[in-house]
Amino acid sequence: MPDVGTSSASAAGASRAARTRTLHLLAVISPGVLWIVIFLVLPSAYLMTIAFMSNGPYGLPQMPWTLDAFKQLAGYGFLGWSPGNLYTLLRSLWQTVLATGLVIAMAYPMAYYISTAPARLRPLMLLAVVVPSWTNQVIRAIGWMNILSPGSPISDGVAALGLISPQMGLFPSKFAVVVGLVYNFLPFMVLPLYAVFEKLDWGQIDAARDLGAGPLRSFRHAVLPQTLPGLLAGTVLVSIPAFGMYVIPELLGGGKSMMLGNLVARQFAEASNWPLGAAGALIMIVATLGGLVVLRRLGRKLGGDTQVVL
C-alpha cells in the first residue's frame, strides 16, 4: 500500500488522484485486455498443455502427461522411426528462409524508391503495395493457380525454355509455394523498411563518399546499419507467419510441399492426433514469442512512435 502512513493532506490527495488514474486505466483498457487474454492467451496456453497429454482413442487429448507427441514430431511412431515429420519441419524452415530472402531482395529497392518519391505520392504508393494483401488469402492463391496452371502462357513459356516438361505447368509445385509466400508477405517487409528509409541520415552517406568510399562501401557502412532495425522487424513479420503458413502450401503445393502449418492442421482434422498437432503448434508459439522479443527491442531503437501497423 503506497499511501500507508501519509500524514499531509496533499500526499493523500496525490494518492487519491493516482488511484483515480489507475481506475481510469483499468476502465478503458480492461475490455480489450480481457478479450485478448480470455480468447487468445488462455486458448494458446490450453493448446500448449495438450501437447504434453496422451492421445485418446478418438484423437482427443487425455491423461497421463507424456512427451509422446514430441517424440512423434521427431519421427518416432508405432512403426519405428520415419523421417516424414522431420522433413516437413526442415521443408518449412527452408521455404521460409528462401521466401524471406527473396522478399528482402524485392522490398529493399521498393522501400528506397518510395522514400525518394515526392512526399504527396508516398501514401498512395504505400497503399498500392498494401492493398493486394487486403484481399482474401485464398483468392490471391487462386490468382497464382490461374497464372501458373498447365497451359497458361507463363507455364508454356517456361516449358518452351525446357525448364519443365510440357503439360506439367508450374503449379502445383514447391516453386509455386515460394512464389505464393513471397507475394503474401512482401508488404510486411516494405512497410518497416520504408519507415527506416524515410528517416535515413544522408549526412552519413555524404561523409562516406567524401572520405572516398565507393558506392558498395558507403552502402555497407552508411546505409545498411541505418536500415538494419527495419530489416529485422520485417524479417520477424515475414518469417514467423510464413513458417506456420497453411493456405498457400495446401493450395499451391499439391500435397508434396506440406509445411508445419499443414502438419498441425491435419492432426486436428483427418489424422485426429491433437497432442501431436499441439506439439507442432507449440514450436510456432515459441517462435512467435521469440519474434516478439526481437520486435520489442527494435521498437525502442526505431523510436517510440514508429508503429508497425498492417
Binding site: H24, V28, I29, P31, G32, V33, W35, I36, V37, F39, L40, V41, S44, Y46, L47, I50, M106, P109, M110, Y112, Y113, R120, P123, L124, L127, A128, V129, V131, P132, W134, T135, Q137, V138, I139, R140, I142, G143, M145, N146, S149, P150, G151, S152, Y183, L186, L237, I240, P241, G244, M245, Y246, V247, W274, A278, A281, T288, L292, R296, V309, L310
Partner: protein, 272 residues
C-alpha cells in the same frame, strides 16, 4: 552506376513489382468474364458466371454470413480497440510493457496456431458446459474481434501520438470534465482514425480465412470458406466471379481509407 541510371532502374523495378502485385488479381477478374470453363484459355467476354452466382443459394447464404460476421465483429472491435488505444496513450508514461506484448501477440502469431487454439478451446468449453460456445457464428465473431482489436488500438494510438499533447492540457484548463473532454474533443479528433479503423477491421474480417475456417460450425459457412471448398473440388469460373466481387469490395474500402488519409493530410496542411 550513375545516379540517373540507378533512378531509371529503380523506376523500372517498381513498375515490375506493381505488375507482380496486381497480376494475380487481374487474372482472377479476367477469367471471371470468360465465356468458357477454363482457367488457362480466354475465349470471350460473358457474364454467365455472375448469373450463376446470383442463382446459387449456398453462395448467397455464405455472402450473408460474411457480412453479418464482418459488421458485428468490426463494431465490437472498434469500440473495444478505441478504448484500448486511448488507454495506451493516456497512460503511456507508465511503461506498460506487458500491454505492448499483448497487443502485438495477435498480430505476429501464425493464423493456424490462432485458429486451432481457439477451436480446441471453444470445443472443450462446449463439451464441458453442454453446448455453450458451440462452433458457429458466435465463436467466429469472438475470434475475429480478438485479432481486430490490436489493429484498431494501434491505429487510434498512433493518431493520438501525432496530436499536440498541449491540447489535452488546454481542455483541462477550460475545466472540461472527463465526459465533456471525451465528447467535445477526443471523439471528434479521433473520428477519422476511428472510421479508418472500422474499415480496416472490416477488411481484416473479410480477408480472414484460416481463423474462420477453424472456428466455424456447419451452419456458418462464409464466402472464403465456400471458395475454399469449391477450389478443393477444382477451380470453377463461378469462384473467379465471387472472388472478383470481393476484390472489388476491398478496393472500394481502400479508396475510402485513402480519402480519409488525404482529408487528414489536407487539414494538417491548412492548419500549419
Amino acid at each position: 552506376m550513375s545516379g540517373r541510371g540507378l533512378r531509371i532502374t529503380l523506376r523500372g523495378f517498381w513498375y515490375l513489382m506493381l505488375l507482380f502485385l496486381y497480376a494475380p488479381l487481374a487474372v482472377v477478374a479476367l477469367y471471371s468474364f470468360n465465356s468458357i470453363n477454363s482457367s488457362a484459355v480466354f475465349a470471350g467476354v460473358s457474364l454467365r458466371w455472375y448469373h450463376a452466382l446470383l442463382a446459387d443459394d449456398t453462395i448467397m447464404n455464405a455472402f450473408y454470413n460474411s457480412v453479418v460476421l464482418a459488421l458485428s465483429s468490426s463494431v465490437i472491435a472498434t469500440v473495444v480497440g478505441t478504448l484500448l488505444g486511448y488507454g495506451m496513450y493516456t497512460h503511456r508514461e507508465r511503461r506498460l510493457g506487458w500491454l505492448i506484448w499483448l497487443v502485438y501477440l495477435p498480430i505476429v502469431m501464425p493464423d493456424i496456431v490462432y485458429g486451432i487454439s481457439q477451436m480446441s478451446f471453444f470445443t472443450s468449453i462446449s463439451a464441458a458446459t453442454g453446448g455453450m460456445l458451440d462452433l458457429g457464428l458466435t465463436t467466429m465473431v469472438i475470434a475475429h474481434v480478438s485479432f481486430q482489436v490490436p489493429f484498431v488500438a494501434l491505429l487510434v494510438y498512433s493518431r493520438l501520438v501525432g496530436l499536440d499533447s498541449r491540447l489535452f492540457a488546454a481542455c483541462q484548463d477550460l475545466y472540461a470534465n472527463a465526459w465533456q473532454r471525451a465528447w467535445y474533443f477526443i471523439l471528434p479528433t479521433l473520428r477519422p482514425a476511428i472510421v479508418a479503423a472500422f474499415f480496416l477491421a472490416f477488411t481484416l474480417s473479410i480477408d480472414d480465412f484460416v481463423i474462420s475456417f477453424f472456428t466455424a460450425g456447419p451452419e456458418s459457412t462464409t464466402l472464403p470458406i465456400f471458395i475454399w471448398s469449391a477450389i478443393k473440388k477444382g477451380v470453377t469460373p463461378e469462384v473467379n466471379a465471387i472472388a472478383t466481387l470481393m476484390i472489388g469490395a476491398v478496393f472500394a474500402a481502400a479508396a475510402v481509407a485513402l480519402a480519409f488519409q488525404y482529408v487528414r493530410a489536407g487539414r494538417r496542411n491548412a492548419a500549419g
